[in-house]
């Protein structure tokens, strides 16, 4: 036993050493993403880091770059992209949140001959425009559309999208998609815009939702752009005395969202499966840099997946297993 494990250890060490020696260049991959303290992004980060275990075994590394906050998203993220170039990245993964501000930085990545994958935001159009290898992620518009369609076909015809981050392209796309989705199902949609300072403040979001519902009693469907906002929206609805009358779908999920769905206070959650985004974007680049292999499928969709009462127990199993 002892002997065997020693041999195994030796073999694996040799194997790793061989790997390091043979790979022409170990991939130092830089991933630009959200704030490290954002629950959704910490899952993307985990996916990227899990894929990074392979990169590290091959002598490379994965480095996460995120802005301090979302106040100045476009320029800050453009800055992070340039920082990745500065630090000698062999490959870069980044979201195209604010194209006007970030495209020049992505162009600099491509101009420097660094392989690039766009993920999370921007879609395949951004990848094509910028000359990136691929796009990994959900399409925001389609995610919003799925939410609008779900609520609309369930018979809720008057929808409002809660936008806590006006001005960010992907958030606007969620709301446009939601409104189009509910229209396609025969309803109407509108947008409730909050000041950017309300972002992350649950009480401010809940009270704004509540006031909006009291002032617009016809609304019977709402869509929120993140899990924290969804929780606050659910609370705002119940405070308005509209629990069970106004139906909610929201982007992303966490334990309390799953709990909401189980208890019936929330109808559905649209999952873009952030873990997959980080994991696949990094894997694609790592394999390309080390072995030159590619994925011919363009636009790798990780969402939208709809979680509702019918499949929520399965998702909870997945959470327990650490896969979601």
């Amino acid at each position: 036993m002892n002997k065997f494990s020693r041999i195994a250890a030796t073999v694996s060490t040799v194997a790793i050493a061989a790997c390091v020696a043979t790979s022409v260049m170990a991939a130092d991959i830089f991933v630009i993403g959200g704030k490290p303290d954002d629950p959704f992004w910490s899952r993307v980060k985990k996916g990227a880091e899990d894929a990074g275990v392979v990169a590290e075994a091959q002598g490379g590394s994965v480095t996460w770059l995120g802005p301090q906050n979302y106040d100045n998203l476009g320029p800050d993220a453009a800055e992070l992209i340039r920082q990745a170039i500065d630090q000698g990245a062999d490959a870069i993964v980044g979201p195209d949140w604010v194209p006007e501000a970030m495209d020049p930085a992505f162009e600099a990545v491509v101009a420097a001959g660094i392989p690039l994958v766009i993920y999370n935001a921007g879609g395949i159009e951004a990848a094509d425009r910028l000359g990136a290898m691929n796009y990994v992620g959900a399409v925001d518009y389609k995610s919003g559309y799925a939410g609008g369609e779900y609520l609309g076909s369930a018979g809720h015809k008057n929808g409002a999208c809660v936008n806590t981050l006006p001005g960010a392209a992907n958030i606007e796309a969620f709301c446009n998609g939601f409104n189009d989705g509910i229209k396609a199902a025969g309803g109407t949609g509108s947008v409730l815009q909050l000041p950017a300072t309300a972002f992350g403040d649950a009480t401010a979001v809940a009270q704004a939702v509540r006031a909006h519902l009291l002032q617009n009693p016809d609304i019977d469907a709402m869509f929120a752009i993140g899990d924290g906002d969804t929780n606050a929206t659910v609370s705002g609805i119940s405070q308005a005395g509209k629990a069970g009358k106004v139906h909610v779908c929201g982007m992303n999920f966490n334990d309390s969202i799953l709990n909401n769905i189980q208890q019936g206070t929330q109808d559905c959650a649209i999952d873009q499966q952030g873990y997959q985004q980080g994991f696949f974007a990094v894997s694609i680049l790592n394999n390309f840099v080390n072995y030159g292999v590619t994925i011919p499928t363009r636009e790798i969709l990780t969402g939208p997946g709809v979680i509702d009462a019918s499949n929520v127990d399965l998702v909870i199993e997945g959470v327990k297993a650490g896969a979601r």
Partner: protein
């Protein structure tokens, strides 16, 4: 020994020590690659944008005032140029003048209210901060119908205000250096500098000595609001778009830079070079952490601790200076009166 003594008596002494301390800390505990760090543009870009605002904010603090409305003036400057020249397609010069003009206007309001009332400038500029946030957000929505406005600046404007030198370094770095040099000269070599320190030291006796305290104060507020609008304007030209939110970080970040740079909030003491070094220190703590093995999550802790240590050092050095050479205080603090 006396050389060391006089070096330590300068207001920027603590700033230099903080800077060296942070780099050493990152080098020892973070395994930072110094070559990579110094070659990188990211933290220098960060420092330049912050530094252009931090210097006038620091001068205000030397004169005993605060300006937190800069947090709204940065998006205001960026939005004004984008609305005028992007949305209404007026020549870029009009947009730029509009942005800077707005800075002058808000600076005048801040300055006049501070001079005319007994209310502390922190409260007054908190009022203009919130009011300008509302004006910018509601105005952009009203005029353009969107919260984010694109802007395509002509080549020459991009060359001067929104270029990336060597494809990585923002041209704002040049403006920052220029700004620091000019204000450094004014503060440490002209009578205005002496007035400034005198005002911060004792406002009443400065007034009695015939210094135009009110005009100086208003001028400083105009300078800080306009610099903030300038930073916003450069950002809009560089990134081809204006975003309405943002800038709030600059409020506390600029105060931290100034204080780490050796300026006393009580007024009358500080230097432009100190503020400059304080900004460098802050940028390295904040952005340089990406170059280390230290988890980004701890950056704010390091900033807080650095700030507290730096102020404590400033206090200690100042007392040391006072006890060492009472006749020479003016040398460090008041720029050879």
């Amino acid at each position: 020994m006396s050389a060391l003594g006089s070096a330590i008596r300068r207001p920027e002494a603590a700033a230099v020590i903080s800077l060296i301390g942070i780099i050493a800390f990152y080098a020892i505990f973070g395994g930072v690659d110094l070559g990579k760090l110094f070659g990188a543009a990211s933290w220098v870009n960060f420092a330049a944008n912050l530094g252009i605002v931090a210097i006038p904010v620091g001068l205000l603090m030397i004169s005993g005032q605060l300006d937190i409305s800069i947090g709204a003036m940065i998006p205001a400057g960026s939005m004004t140029v984008a609305i005028l020249s992007g949305y209404y397609e007026l020549p870029i010069v009009v947009g730029m003048l509009g942005a800077l003009g707005l800075g002058v206007l808000v600076g005048l309001v801040n300055g006049i209210l501070t001079v005319r009332t007994t209310v502390p400038s922190l409260i007054i500029t908190l009022g203009t901060l919130v009011a300008m946030q509302g004006v910018v957000l509601a105005g952009a929505k009203l005029l353009t119908g969107a919260a984010s406005v694109p802007l395509a600046a002509p080549e020459w404007a991009k060359f001067l205000f929104g270029r990336l030198i060597g494809n990585s370094h923002q041209v704002a770095i040049v403006w920052w250096l220029l700004f620091a040099a000019v204000l450094g000269f004014v503060v440490h070599r002209t009578k205005y500098g002496n007035w400034l320190f005198a005002m911060g030291g004792d406002r009443e006796s400065a007034r009695n000595a015939g210094i135009p305290v009110d005009r100086m104060t208003i001028g400083l507020f105009v300078l800080s609001a306009t610099s903030a609008a300038f930073v916003g304007m450069c950002g809009a030209i560089l990134f081809n778009s204006a975003q309405v939110s943002g800038g709030m970080n600059y409020i506390f970040n600029s105060v931290v830079c100034v204080v780490v740079g050796g300026v006393l909030l009580t007024g009358g003491y500080g230097s432009v070079i100190g503020i400059f070094i304080g900004t460098l220190t802050f940028a390295i703590v904040n952005q340089g952490i990406y170059f280390t093995d230290i988890d980004r999550n701890w950056a704010n802790l390091i900033i807080g601790v650095t700030l507290l240590i730096a102020v404590a050092m400033n206090g200690t050095f100042r007392e040391f200076a006072l006890s060492l050479g009472p006749r020479k205080i003016k040398k460090g603090g008041q720029a050879n009166v």
